[in-house]
């Protein structure tokens, strides 16, 4: 029994007593069940297990605290309308926004933040972490940390560009199809079906091996693969708007198709589209990472998270966690984006908690 274990239990029991005294039912249940679990894990795993729980709980609390503070910060700096919406955001969404914000900062200011250049060889291959290199070196002796920072810029930037392109093409086609109807609608619908019937990874591999692996080709191919999904969603959403009386009124006024789309239909279908944008972004991001892992995506020496996993994969057999760091970066961003998207979906579905 060392002082850490005594302090650990004293803190938990004290906190649960406080919660019980102030009739905070849920908090009490949470803390006290944690205490009970700690008894069991403490007996089985000893002090290290308890330390692990402490660190995990501390990290969770830190994340919650950061999310809370970040949300409050956003509420204060936003204009009134946006601030009101932000107040409805759950902590998970705030966490997601914080992560996205961090990635954006890392991506934009990569040359300032990264201590070394992305292709700069500064030490021996697979050098362990030291005071110079936060995460050690990769298979060519380049700084892992710097490459991850640059990777944010390259991978995320590319994914954003490809998703945006897919969205503009898909949404425009969907809105036109819903407004025009008739043969145009049929034609676009069948074309979308054809693209969707080919497995996306195979289609991408095919296209990249035909046209080569330049950035432009990657962006266009990915946009082509993902635009049919956006097309379908937009067409469905816009289809519900097109039958409204105000569209009829605008048509009878003699308004053109472009006015109908821009002023009447688009403002009424943005919420589901934004939510879809977040989801699609994750898929595109994973596809790019997957292509890079296969060696067909972003080409070396440009830093990219997908290829970084592949290049350092040999380290895993030595029990090193380094190659998993870029993978974790991918996972964290995906989770973060989905948190934000969940919140937006919840809002646009009109479900309000009571």
């Amino acid at each position: 029994m060392n002082s850490f274990v005594i302090g650990y239990y004293a803190l938990l029991i004290g906190a649960s007593c406080l919660a019980a005294y102030f009739k905070q039912r849920q908090i009490f249940l949470l803390i006290f069940s944690l205490t009970l679990i700690s008894f069991v894990t403490g007996i089985i795993g000893g002090v290290p297990a308890l330390r692990f729980i402490t660190i995990a709980a501390g990290l969770l609390a830190l994340a919650a605290g950061v999310s809370y503070a970040f949300r409050e910060f956003l509420i204060i700096i936003s204009p009134d309308g946006v601030a009101k919406e932000l107040r409805t955001a759950p902590l998970t969404a705030a966490f997601g926004m914080f992560v996205i914000f961090t990635y954006a900062i890392a991506g934009i200011f990569a040359p300032v933040i990264a201590p070394f250049g992305e292709a700069e060889v500064i030490s021996s291959a697979f050098a362990p972490a030291d005071e110079n290199m936060l995460l050690g070196a990769d298979q060519l002796g380049r700084d892992m940390f710097s490459r991850i920072i640059y990777g944010a810029r390259n991978t995320v930037g590319l994914a954003l560009l490809a998703t945006a392109l897919a969205f503009i093409a898909g949404a425009l086609a969907g809105l036109l199809a819903a407004t025009k109807g008739g043969w145009f609608d049929q034609f676009m619908g069948r074309a979308a079906d054809v693209i969707m019937s080919i497995p996306s990874l195979i289609f991408a591999l095919l296209m990249l091996s035909i046209f080569g692996t330049s950035l432009v080709v990657i962006v266009v191919v990915i946009a082509l693969i993902y635009s049919p999904r956006v097309f379908r969603l937009t067409r469905a959403v816009a289809g519900n708007v097109v039958v409204m009386d105000y569209i009829e009124a605008a048509k009878l006024r003699g308004e053109g198709t472009w006015y109908l789309i821009r002023k009447e239909i688009l403002p009424n279908s943005t919420a589901p589209l934004i939510a879809e944008f977040g989801l699609e972004f994750c898929f595109v991001f994973l596809l790019i990472a997957g292509l890079s892992f296969l060696g067909l995506g972003i080409q070396p020496p440009t830093a990219d998270w997908g290829s970084m996993v592949r290049e350092n994969a040999t380290l895993i057999s030595f029990g090193e966690l380094t190659p998993l760091i870029p993978a974790a970066a991918i996972a964290l961003l995906t989770v973060a984006v989905n948190f934000v998207v969940d919140w937006m979906l919840f809002r646009s579905s009109g479900l309000k908690e009571v």
Binding site: D245, Y246, E248, K251, R253, N268, V354
Partner: protein
């Protein structure tokens, strides 16, 4: 009514709160209510008066976003506010039943009617399936549904709206409840079908000595159904009295204003005397079809400048289709539309900007007729900008002028969005949008049917005033003959896509009529509590079902 019957439901100081703008707001402020066995209580009031909320609360139920915050609800000795949810569930359906406004939306379209009917009795183990089905058929028979032994095996979409509403009433009766809550059961129905449903409900309530709460905004309807009437306003009781007393001598001002609402009437205008006067819109021998189904058959009528022509008929009679032909949304298969003596292109896409500008439309549902994401200033301003080519300060002045015209304060409404407005205000914006184009002819498609009576009267008065000022011609599509009586100059009666009778209003409201016009006119409920009984006797009780299908 036998005095001192046993009390079935006693509600005392009922308070209900609703959740809006992140806080709880009281929406029902202490309502008392006593209902004896076998008695029918009518709850009336405008929308937002809390009628439905109180109706649901008498089952111990509060909608999502509402909660019962005070008072007591005692049903047959049971305090519903403290009863656990599981016991309440056992009570609902078996001892208290609910009939919703839209039967079409309340039936599950994927199951047969009789399966939904027998669900409750089987669930509560009151009857076995076969017994329950026999009982259902018996009830269908009593409610005078056609083919009572067979109709239950159809799906909800295979029967008409009136029949479905009666089937719903039968379903509410399945467990022989002590109390049924009718929430506007006939509001969505045509006058002719409404009668069948009213008669059926009244009979069945009498036969089983069931108590009922009848919620409606239509006074004439409640007069037929209720023993006692309670008037509600903004969650508070205005007054309560036995039906006849309430109709003869209401004591509160608000009740009197409700009673007087149908008094708006303006003198009939005649067609211009000159023989060479050209009608502003002339529908000539128009046939129209949706695919292969013909919906209009040789429809002809004229509308002269400054006059209101009301087109009446039940749903499916082709009223709105005629309007779609005039606007060019549905090109006629035969015949033509003349505008000021000139033939209009059948498709709206082929019409000139000026032709489009001349004919405007006001819609029934202001909710769907105004884009919720566009500011009022732009909704009204767009036609002025589009047709009149106005910009900047000129445009703003025009919008302000239009808002003044529809009696809304420009400073207050200029920058708002439609969802921030009440139903009547939205309808006024719809009118302003039509006026912004400076038309000579406006189609009003059931513009008042979604509104409360007081608000509807305001809209009618506004339309009338605008007609005086701007010499507008109206085509007024409606199924409400009271509206026709108050605002029309000429009436066109339609049935199954044909014009059965047309002429000046005064002539149309004096006999002799075409039999269908007669049926329509006699089906409009009157304030006399004995109206339904007298009417049914005149028509012969057995013919109620068929009467509507003349």
């Amino acid at each position: 009514m036998v005095p001192r019957k046993e009390v079935l439901l006693e509600v005392k100081d009922l308070r209900i709160e609703g959740y809006s703008d992140e806080q709880w707001v009281e929406i029902v402020h202490g309502v008392d209510l006593t209902l004896h066995k076998g008695e029918v209580l009518g709850l009336i009031g405008e929308s937002g008066a809390g009628k439905s909320t109180i109706g649901l609360a008498s089952m111990g139920f509060a909608r999502d976003g509402c909660r019962i915050s005070g008072g007591s609800i005692e049903f047959d000795g049971m305090e519903l506010t403290t009863t656990p949810e599981s016991d309440l569930r056992a009570l609902r359906g078996s001892r208290i039943a609910y009939v919703a406004q839209s039967a079409a939306a309340s039936f599950n379209p994927a199951h047969r009617i009789i399966d939904q009917h027998t669900e409750a009795p089987i669930q509560y183990r009151i009857q076995k399936r076969v017994e329950a089905q026999e009982d259902a058929m018996e009830l269908y028979h009593r409610l005078r549904l056609p083919n009572p032994n067979e109709i239950g095996f159809r799906y909800p979409h295979q029967v008409s709206g009136g029949q479905l509403q009666r089937a719903m009433t039968a379903m509410a009766m399945a467990c022989r409840p002590d109390l049924i809550i009718f929430d506007e059961p006939t509001t969505a129905l045509d006058v002719t079908t409404q009668i069948e449903v009213l008669a059926a409900i009244r009979d069945i309530v009498d036969q089983f000595n069931t108590a009922a709460i009848y919620i409606t905004h239509d006074l004439a309807v409640v007069a037929q159904m209720a023993d006692t009437i309670k008037v509600l306003l903004k969650g508070e009781e205005v007054e309560e009295a036995p039906t006849e007393q309430m109709l003869d001598s209401p004591s509160e001002d608000y009740t009197k204003s409700l009673w007087a609402v149908r008094s708006f009437k303006r003198p009939q205008k005649d067609r211009p005397a000159e023989a060479d006067a050209v009608p502003i819109v002339s529908v000539k021998n128009v046939d129209a079809a949706y695919g292969k189904i013909q919906v209009l058959d040789d429809v002809s009528f004229d509308i002269y400048a400054g006059m209101t022509v009301a087109v009446v008929g039940e749903s499916g009679s082709g009223k709105s289709t005629t309007a779609r032909c005039i606007t060019g949304l549905l090109p006629p298969t035969k015949g033509e539309i003349l505008f000021n003596g000139e033939s209009l292109p059948p498709r709206y896409q082929d019409r000139s900007k000026d032709q489009l500008r001349q004919a405007q439309m006001i819609y029934q549902m202001a909710d769907t007729a105004l884009n919720p994401k566009i500011r009022i200033s732009e909704i009204i301003g767009r036609p002025a900008q589009f047709y009149g080519n106005l910009h900047g300060a000129e445009l703003k002045n025009r919008v302000d002028e239009l808002l003044d015209l529809i009696e809304l304060d420009p400073a207050k409404f200029y920058n708002r969005f439609p969802p921030e407005l009440s139903g009547g205000q939205k309808q006024r914006i719809g009118i302003a949008r039509a006026l912004a184009a400076e038309p000579s002819f406006i189609i009003c498609d059931e513009v008042t049917s979604a509104l409360d009576q007081l608000v509807a009267e305001g809209i009618l008065k506004l339309l009338d005033k605008l007609q005086e000022d701007l010499n507008l011609a109206y085509m007024f599509i409606t199924h409400d003959l009271a509206t026709v009586r108050s605002i029309a100059d000429e009436v066109v009666v339609m049935q199954k896509g044909k014009v059965v009778e047309q002429g000046p209003k005064d002539k149309m409201f004096t006999p002799p009529h075409h039999p269908y016009t007669d049926l329509l006119l006699s089906s409009v409920p009157e304030m006399d509590p004995n109206w339904l009984t007298t009417l049914l006797e005149e028509r012969g009780t057995d013919s109620i079902g068929e009467a509507a299908n003349v």
